[in-house]
Amino acid sequence: MTKRSSLAPNRPGPSKVARAWEILAVPVVVTLLSLLVGAVVILGSELIVTGRKFDPFLWFTAYAALVQGAFGGTDAIVSTLVYTTPLVFGGLAVAFGFKAGLFNIGAQGQFLVGALGAVIVGVALADAPAPIAIVAATMAGIIAGGLWGFIPGFLKAVSGAHEVVSTIMLNYVAVQLLAALVSGPLKVPKSPSPVTYDVGNAAYPIVIGGTGHIGIILAIVAAGFVWWLLFRTTWGFEIRSVGANPDAARYAGMRPKLLTIATMTFSGGLAGLAGTSVLLGVTHSMTSAFGTTVGFDSIAVALLARSNPIGVVAAALLFGSMRAGAGLMQINAGIPVELVDVLQATILLFLVASPVLRRVLRLRGVQAGIAETAATNALGTEPTD
């Protein structure tokens, strides 16, 4: 990592407006630029598509719908929160790994296995008292996801198998595991297509609006907890130490291998919780088509948040609101949902290019851009010994 002098030259304090501009300029300009790119994509594609009337303001319709779908009214906001919830858990999972120098591409698989754990126990306890059923099913989801994270952690610690490879592979295995169980032992016998029973009492109670389940609150709590764990406990200190310098960690009496296993397990548990929150909070049962893009979106969320747990909440909210608004955008403007991906990518792109932006905007504040995360570290670091 680059060193930066703490001895920045003293300048007379700028006015409040100027200071606010220094802080807000980049996010604001990045958002505007991304929207601009999106508008260009929309206009350009209008020219390609035949058989539709050219509408020079289609982009406006689209953005208006996107915002309205995400924030226009209670239903929309709740829906945004529901979409945000698994992204918070997933983003925390990936960020947590980054902090220990591990790149967990396996959030995808851990999500599925976590949901699987939740549905197994949830269905079994469908008639049990709700508090018991909910807690047990949630725990099962965390444990199942954790187990799926434990495997690559254990393999890395024992044989040095690179976690990037093993987690990618386990993502595929998870899909098969899910299909085998949902079409096999978990299948409702009478159903014509593979589907599990409903989780009944294990379903998360609704706390806000029509669909806002308790997982939303759980996500906020989890973010706080992860922050506390990382920055206020000795375990967090050890994990961050191993991530930053495994040799020094070993020197200091920490046990990098054990921490690698623990971190991957915990990260897997968080990703499992993402799956659990979707299953118990939204779908309540599982079809064999149960799939997700949360795992990969989580990587982007963690990167955008620069692996900071609190930042993860904000980044997840951004991504979640786009997902929530995408439906209305498709209805009102007929814009394919993929535009959301384009927007997300351009936001990341302009943030990465923010040094250039700063130059263009003549901003001077020395600020570590998004470029500085532990992410790349994660690929380079090897466990010692």
Partner: protein
């Protein structure tokens, strides 16, 4: 080559008013320097004085803010290392610029390859050239050996060969002797004299004053980025140079006082350990360090010292033998257990082991005690207690830093080392293990650390000191073990040991030479 030693000739190299600023630091502040053809010109200065920066400017690695460079009287603008090399300037860098996974030949030829055709390398020709080049300067070198598997001394030779291969007119050597034995240093000096005799100009940087006095034709001393004096070796001495460098009088030799050794603290029997590549590095070491004494281990780097030390402190599992502490067998205990048993360890590589550079200084000061009271209650850390103690430690050990909360990476090397020392020294100890505690530090910092070590000894701690700096071992130790080929080949009295004798033992292993050589080459 023409005879061009006359004083009327233009200097081969002239640097005029070079100024280079880094954020918050003026590394070079209007430095001027003249180097004549055929001259060995020494550059002296404490850590951070700006020596390396000046040479980086010359080599095109740094762009000066002001000033100009003249070669043979002609002003030139050096755009980068490639340009510098093309102009006949070459540099042996302070930190190895070698690629460990490449072979000796590949490292030497890199950037100036022998080609079989436009695309592919001619590896046979490359080998031939390297062997020939080595012979010319008296090194018998295997061109196919991986550089990473060579000892530090040999790596240094490769660095020098690399520069020689490029047929430099102006050769810069930035602390080339820091890791060499006296004998190896002499060998290199022979080469330098010969080159100078052939008319090459040499800029030589070192912290070892006697070396400078021996080799240099002229000496320039810089302090805080400015030239503070120029001397001829005949008209100066070590004390004068030291004072010029630091700006005050410095005590160059340690006043170690008398020691009062008590019972044995550390006992090692038949210890064996392997290095990271699985090769035997420590081959049966017997050793005893008593309370209140400093046991120094002298040896050329790469003779198993690091592995020995790591095996003692629990970072490396011994493959045979025992380690006991105060009569208790502690073989194979974890670093944590050893630490709790009263063993402190100052590692050789402070960036790799000693510190987490991206963490705040305060966190680094509790790196080995973060989990204990008062820094943690259960698993919950107490940031207030950590910060409070950090502040007092910073004061007591005079660590120069704006705050306890800055990243450790922003501290200078000397202050980073002080932080490690402060952390490790600041409690009651049974055994103190020091590996190269003053590597790369200037005389002021060295003085400080040496005093702390003596104080620990006098408090009854057993001290094991490993250093490639022979003078340091000789000055500090009550007893000296010479390590060669993974064995302690001799144990001498620290007060009577003769420098040349120890140097010879370090280089050859003495009586065991033949056997050890056979073993290492196997």
């Amino acid at each position: 080559m023409t005879d061009e030693t006359g004083p009327t000739l233009a200097p081969a190299l002239e640097m005029r008013g070079i100024t280079k600023r880094y954020p918050g630091v003026i590394a070079n502040d209007g430095i001027s320097l003249q180097v004549r053809p055929g001259e060995i010109h020494a550059l002296l200065g404490e850590n951070g004085a700006g020596k390396t920066t000046l040479m980086n400017v010359l080599y095109g690695l740094a762009t000066p803010d002001e000033g100009e460079i003249l070669l043979d009287g002609q002003p030139v603008a050096i755009s980068g290392p490639a340009d510098a090399i093309a102009r006949g300037i070459n540099m042996v860098h302070q930190h190895f610029m070698l690629v460990p996974v490449l072979s000796v030949a590949e490292n030497i030829l890199l950037g100036d390859e022998t080609m079989a055709n436009r695309i592919f390398l001619d590896r046979r020709e490359a080998r031939r050239r390297i062997v020939e080049l080595g012979r010319r300067f008296g090194f018998e070198i295997d061109p196919d050996a991986k550089v990473g598997s060579l000892s530090v001394g040999w790596q240094q030779r490769v660095e020098i060969l690399k520069a020689l291969y490029r047929k430099a007119r102006i050769l810069v050597l930035d602390e080339p002797t820091a890791v060499l034995t006296p004998q190896e240093t002499e060998e290199i000096f022979g080469v330098l004299r010969r080159l100078a005799g052939e008319g090459h100009s040499i800029v030589f940087i070192s912290h070892k004053l006697y070396e400078v006095l021996e080799i240099a034709d002229r000496i320039t001393v810089i302090r805080r980025g400015r030239v503070v004096g120029e001397r001829l070796p005949s008209a100066t001495d070590e004390d004068d140079l030291a004072e010029l460098m630091v700006g005050r009088e410095v005590q160059l030799t340690v006043d170690r006082g008398v020691s009062h050794p008590a019972g044995p603290v550390l006992q090692i029997r038949g210890l064996e350990a392997r290095d990271d590549r699985g090769q035997a590095a420590v081959r049966g070491v017997d050793l005893e360090v008593r309370a209140g004494e400093i046991f120094g281990i002298a040896g050329v780097a790469g003779n198993g010292q690091d592995e020995l030390v790591e095996a003692i402190v629990g970072l490396r599992r011994p493959s045979a033998g025992t380690v006991s502490l105060a009569g208790q067998d502690v073989t194979g205990r974890s670093p944590r257990k050893m630490n709790e048993a009263g063993v402190a360890y100052v590692p050789a590589d402070r960036h790799r082991f000693g510190l987490i550079l991206s963490f705040p200084l305060a966190d680094n000061l509790v790196l080995t005690s973060y989990y204990r009271k008062p820094y943690a209650r259960g698993i919950v850390r107490d940031p207030k207690a950590i910060l409070r103690d950090a502040t007092t430690t910073i004061e007591r050990y005079d660590i120069r830093t704006p705050a306890a909360t800055v990243r450790a990476s922003t501290l200078s090397g000397g202050n980073q080392q002080k932080a490690v020392v402060a952390r490790e020294f600041d409690r009651d100890l049974e055994l103190l293990v020091l590996d190269q505690p003053t590597r790369g530090l200037d005389v002021g910092s060295i003085e400080f650390i040496h005093r702390q070590v003596i104080a620990k000894r006098d408090a009854g701690t057993a001290v094991l000191l490993v250093s490639a700096e022979l003078d340091e071992v000789l000055e500090m130790s009550d007893r000296i073990g010479v390590m060669f080929g993974g064995r302690i080949v001799a144990v001498l009295d620290g007060r009577t040991a003769d420098k040349n004798e120890v140097g010879l033992l370090m280089a050859t292993g003495g009586a065991e030479r033949v056997a050890a050589l056979a073993a290492t080459s196997a």
